[in-house]
Amino acid sequence: MEEKLTKIKESLIKELDGVNKEADLLNIKSMYVGKKSEIQEILASLKDMSVDDKRKYGSLINNTKKELEELINNKLEELENKVDISFDDTLNYDVNVGSLHPVTIVAKEVTDILKRMGFTVVSGPEMESEYYNFEALNIPKDHPARDMQDTYYLDNGMLLRTQTSDNQIHAMENYGAPLRICAPGRTFRNEDLDANHENTFFQIEGMVIDKGVSIENLMYVMQSVLSEVFKSDIKVRLRPGFFPFTEPSYEMDISCVICGGKGCPTCKNAGWIELIGCGMVHPNVLRAGGIDPDVYTGFAFGIGLTRLAMMKYKINDIRYLNSGDIRYLKQFNI
């Protein structure tokens, strides 16, 4: 008897193994545990057995039937859970991802860093007056910076701004002191195009005005920006510079990322890249903004955003940036 029951069980297990349709399973179910199934017959024959046999086999037969039912139900559940695969589940399509311009990405990054230090982001006009681009910034009529070779003058008496520093004056006029602003934007210089020179490029201007602002504060802000953008200790060099709108003026160079400081066309073999012009705001500029230089001091800086993007992404030819070539730009799929 035990042998017989084991056989039935084994036979069921074998049959279930090949089943993957619900209908087949139902057939098996009626075959093994239905009214006309073998186990049912055995169960029915129980009543003709001796008392000893009844005691001996009764629970065994019943347990076996339960086991059979359980096996079938488990299989049923398994089939109900399973999706019928009628497609190639190994297909692998590419995703289309849009892109942001590398300068946009870097501008966002820098403004975010500055915002965490309490700067607000402002913006100014690209077509600008001589007053905001030069005069108010302590660049007198005779200054070489005003030359035609560097500046795009327009036939309506205006010009295309040569730097984002016009924002200094707009911000002082609009908000007064104390002040903490930054202003990313497009700037223009009348230059011939090559791998390192563009006539249209981006800067971000920054300005802080308050009582007691020092050169040390300026250095802190500059270093914070650079170490966050490059996420590592990048080699930085601060040296005296000259800008009419700051005094003292400084230039901050970073070790060329393209060649690692060994010298390459991008850094003109110097190993260093001029990235930031900065300094303490010239008293004449504060006055032009309606702020008393005997009460307030401040610093200002201009970071070459285009150059920064080139360093960050190791872009060795500036002409890619205004090319609009999707093949190149699509890499910046942030």
């Binding site: 942001l100 982001v121 690209e126 040390e216």
Partner: protein
Amino acid sequence: MLISCNKLKSYIKDNGDIDWLNIWNTFTIRTAEVESVKEVGNTFDNVVVAEILECEEHPDSDHMHVLKVDCGEKEPIQVVCGAPNVRVGLKTAYVKVGGHIDGMEIKARPLRGILSNGMCCSGRELAISDNHDGIMELPEDFINGKDIKEYLPIDDIIVEIDNKSLTNRPDLWGHYGIAREICAITKHELLPLELEEIENNKKDLDIVIKNNDLCYRYTGLKIENILNNKTPLDMQIFLYYVGMRSISLIVDLTNYLMLELGQPMHAFDARVVKNIEVGLANEGDTYTTLDGVERKLSNDILMIKNGDKYFGIAGVMGGMDSEILPDTTGVFLESATFNAGVIRRGAVKLGLRTEASSRYEKSLDPNMTDIAIKRLVYLLRKENPNIEIVSNMTDVYPKKLEEEEIVLDKETLKIYMGIDMPDNDVKEILELLGFKVEVLDKEYKVIVPTYRCTKDIKIKQDLIEEIARIYGLEKFSPKPLKLDLISVEHENIFNQEYDVKKILANKFDMHEVHSYMWYDTALLKELGLDKDNVKLLGKDVNNILRDDMSLSLMNIVRENFKNYNSFEIFEIGTIIFNNENKRVLSIILAGEDKELEALYNRAKMVVKYVFKVYKNKDIAFKDNINEKKYYDSNLGKLIYVDDKKVGELNVLNKRLASKIAKKKMIVTLDIDFDLFVELNKEEIISQEVSKYPTVSLDYTIKIDKKKYQDLEDMLKDFRSNLIKSYELVGVFKDKYTIRYVLGSNNKTLEQKDIQTFKDRFMSYIKDNGLMIEE
């Protein structure tokens, strides 16, 4: 500018402790950017003085000679030489066998069959001059066999300083000024220059300055009896190393003074000078400069005149007729100071920037002119002991530039530096730079030397810069800002631009491009378009500023069609419209012409999405009678928000599109981003969701010859309190399916409510003349 360290050493007392190779890193962070540091003279060795004892013609050559030279060894040595200036008694430079030139070893080898032991060299072969006319001619007092480096300053370090970083430092345009900086940086003593004092006991020269505001000082001196016009070798080497050609003693000395002091000088042949007048040119005159080029003059160019004739362009270049000739023995020396602006503008106008003009345009110190003359005479007399000074040193100096006093209060210094500087340090730094300092209780009284006060030292902040840089910028410790936490106004333009760009890139998979502010005029021409807007001055092409952002992106569209059949790009930038700056978001959807409908509808969807997400506003499209002929006249739409025009949707005219790329269509969106930024986000006021179920009803309406817009206007006018919403859910030919969602906030709708709606709606549509099915 090239700087010779040998020359610097001659001005600095006890400079043995200065590391001349590495000082330049410090110089860069103290003073000005150094571009390169190069050791020179180290490319050869074993070059000694040798005297030619015998000179025979080479039997097998028409130009070579066989020489016997005394190079300090017991026996004369045989050398074959092809130079034309070989002669018995000449002392020259000779490389021994085993010595090197330009890194190459010199061996004993036969030349046309005759053994040459070593080689006699020209200046160019030794890389100490560009002279290759013959072998070097050394002075007679050089001792045979001695290394020529013992006599001549050949081993040197040549430093290139970035000119741009010297823009504001007129005092650094000569070696002496650089030496002064090195002294300040390394705390050494600067030696005075040796000068010849000139006695003024003769007649004045006739010098007149017409424009005192353009010529600040003109100093002249006449010298005769200059018989030796040979530049000493050490000066030749120096000039060569710093990039100047040696010409003749007189010319070389004027250049030398410019390189030493930064004072440009000019020497005229004394035979032609009658009287000197400095004044402006006449408009339209021409004048031929020393380089043989005829130049057109204008009345803002300053000239030197002689006997009523032009004699030179002041501060820029002399003329042909006053050139120093081989037989010149008398010179008229000019040492003058001109206004920086007039020289710069003149040089730019003439397209002639010279070593002199680039120095004058930095604002030179007028107090240098007489020193330069005294120095030149001193150096000239070393080579010509018998020169005669035949005039007074005539000095026309209408308004003497005096030293200036600046008061620097210690409080301001402390604010800027962030630290207390000891009085002694401040005093020492400024004095090393040539300032005079009086230390008072609360301030410093500082006298600025005139070589610093023509331009760059005007206010106390300028002095702070001097103190800070010589003290050492690397010694500052960066400190965070300590400012009050105040709420400040926040312009939100940058953020809004970024947010919109991000969604266009990340949701709609578009690519951001950057372009130019001006039209590609070649493309405009090709498209047959005439644009009139603000123009760039002085440019003939690409000179019209854009007033239509999308149109200005068409060259980028064209380039991308070379690689893609369809693509979507965008830019937020500035256009100039009605003479004003205007920010515009331009989105361009470009693709196959058969995709036009899809591109067009996607464009609508994108702009709708942007306004919905960022402004919670619905937009409306209105027909546009397009004045811009390059856009399709029927498909143009104006985009409205709250009855305000915020942008345009256009399709580039089919004919023009095909010129950009064949069988392509280009859909453009231009959104006024100034208005977009100003637009307030529609506030969200929450509405309860009904507890009761809703019912959806789909109606298919045959549109006939009307457009969706007509249907939508119709639907807008149909009112019922049961309507929760309705939308277009399908289009099949001219049959549009509209789905209404009905419901009530108070109850579950009953069949009769729904039936009433159905009947009313169906008859409303039919009354409007359209066929409808449920």
